[in-house]
């Protein structure tokens, strides 16, 4: 069974064509890493999977529920790390929230407003939020951006442990990050070079 399937998808933004009759299917329960040059449509592909953009033609079939680490953190700066997680989880999972923040090295910072956090700390809160939400499909758009090597390896291990058995799609520019999650790699070339990357 496929976890997701893009079938002859075409997507344009004004005069720019990002996908032209593009097809892709990914297996259930596996980690896949999408790589490619800037502008090849990696983030657009995630947005298509999340339903945040609609294809001009073709169809997108995907797993639900989904969770995501966006390219930007998209946290509420006035809220604490805990409150940002509670926004997604609701109340009643305090021990889990504490555990995930501790696992990501934020054990002492949970009650502080996110606006006071460094970029790397915010990134880890965004990862914690994604892992605490219910999901069968976990989408990660450059999840380790702004993390130093130690924090990145630690976060990758937490993701791997937590998302075991789920389908995972990660966008990155770094092949080493794909290795951290034991992810298969799909290269998305720019559209002028794209004929059947990952095609049916």
């Amino acid at each position: 069974m496929d976890a997701l399937r893009l079938h002859h998808v075409t997507k344009r933004f004004g005069a720019q064509t990002v996908f032209d009759n593009f097809s892709l299917k990914l297996p259930l329960g596996r980690a896949t890493c999408l790589m490619g040059p800037s502008g090849c449509g990696k983030t657009t592909l995630l947005n298509l999977l999340m339903g945040l953009v609609q294809p001009d033609s073709g169809s997108v079939t995907t797993l639900h529920p989904q969770s995501v680490v966006f390219q930007e953190d998209r946290l509420l700066p006035g809220l604490s790390a805990f409150a940002n997680l509670r926004l997604v989880t609701g109340r009643g999972r305090e021990q889990e929230l504490t555990a995930i923040l501790t696992a990501l090295g934020l054990g002492d910072a949970g009650a502080k407003p996110v606006r006071d956090f460094s970029g790397g700390m915010k990134r880890r809160v965004a990862i914690a939020r994604a892992l605490m939400a219910d999901y069968r499909l976990l989408l990660l758009d450059e999840p380790f951006k702004g993390l130093d090597a130690a924090a990145r390896d630690r976060a990758a291990q937490v993701i791997k442990d937590h998302a075991a058995g789920s389908t995972l799609v990660m966008v990155t520019h770094d092949p080493h990050e794909a290795g951290l999650l034991n992810a298969g790699i799909i290269h998305l070339p720019l559209i002028e070079n794209r004929q059947a990357a990952g095609a049916d």
Partner: protein, 255 residues
């Protein structure tokens, strides 16, 4: 120069400016030479003191304030509902556009005369405060909705954040500053137009009726004294609304 010294200097300049304009007013009153046409500051102070000792003054102030604030609050609720509807539906937005334009551009006097024909003069100032207040708040809220962070809205959608949590954590903190600005501006306009409506409609026992009597008697000392009372009430109610909104914003920020 220390900050406290600069602050003290500013206060001194402001006091001097007030004293200067009071002196100009006094000289103008002496030049006109007739207290009915232009009362002096001292005569206005005496009028104000006399009015403040009359129980009827407080009754009129409370009546007018109550009705104007009622109209303002109704306008606030209507504007919030209309803006929420307009943000969700193009039809509502298009339906609201001519209504808001008309409310903004039609002269207050036209509304007042229409209102006198259609409704009791008792609720005239409420109706006018509503008509004048809601477009200001609506336009501010529409601006706030337009500038909402769509990336956060997308985040809430993907994570399936329930409606009430989205409202209190995402939407209200972003919209409250716009609502506050709109409400404060609208309330000032509600006071001006509400009292003007009362002067035209002359509902009994109101500030408008008192001002109408002043107009009939050509006594500017009372006119200025009532004006001071109106301005004080307007400032007081604006400070109250601003304080409540600020409290709301702080509470939402601290959630």
């Amino acid at each position: 120069m220390r900050a406290s010294t600069i602050k003290n200097n500013r206060r001194a300049y402001r006091l001097l400016a007030v004293l200067f304009w009071l002196a100009v007013w006094q000289l103008a009153a002496v030049a006109v030479g007739h207290e009915f046409l232009l009362a002096s500051p001292l005569q206005v102070f005496k009028s104000l003191t006399r009015l403040l000792l009359l129980p009827g003054t407080y009754g009129a102030a409370l009546r007018s304030a109550g009705r104007i604030l009622l109209g303002f609050l109704a306008g606030l609720v209507f504007a919030v509902l209309l803006a929420a509807g307009a943000s969700k539906s193009t039809l509502v937005r298009e339906l609201a556009a001519p209504l808001v334009s008309a409310a903004r551009s039609v002269p207050v006097a036209s509304f007042v005369i229409l209102a006198i024909i259609l409704v009791s003069t008792r609720w005239l100032s409420s109706l006018i405060a509503f008509v004048i207040g809601f477009p200001v708040i609506y336009i501010n809220l529409a601006e706030g909705l337009h500038h909402r962070d769509l990336k956060l809205a997308q985040m809430a959608k993907v994570f399936r954040v329930p409606f009430l949590r989205r409202l209190f954590y995402l939407n209200l903190p972003q919209l409250m500053p716009y609502l506050r600005a709109g409400a404060v501006t609208a309330l000032g306009l509600c006071w001006k137009s509400g009292v003007a409506a009362e002067v035209i409609g002359i509902p009994g026992g109101t500030i408008g009726e008192a001002l109408y009597r002043v107009k009939v008697n050509y006594y500017t000392a009372d006119l200025f004294a009532w004006t001071i009372i109106i301005v004080a009430l307007s400032l007081l109610s604006t400070a109250l609304i601003r304080g409540l909104m600020d409290l709301g914003i702080r509470r939402l920020e601290g959630l």
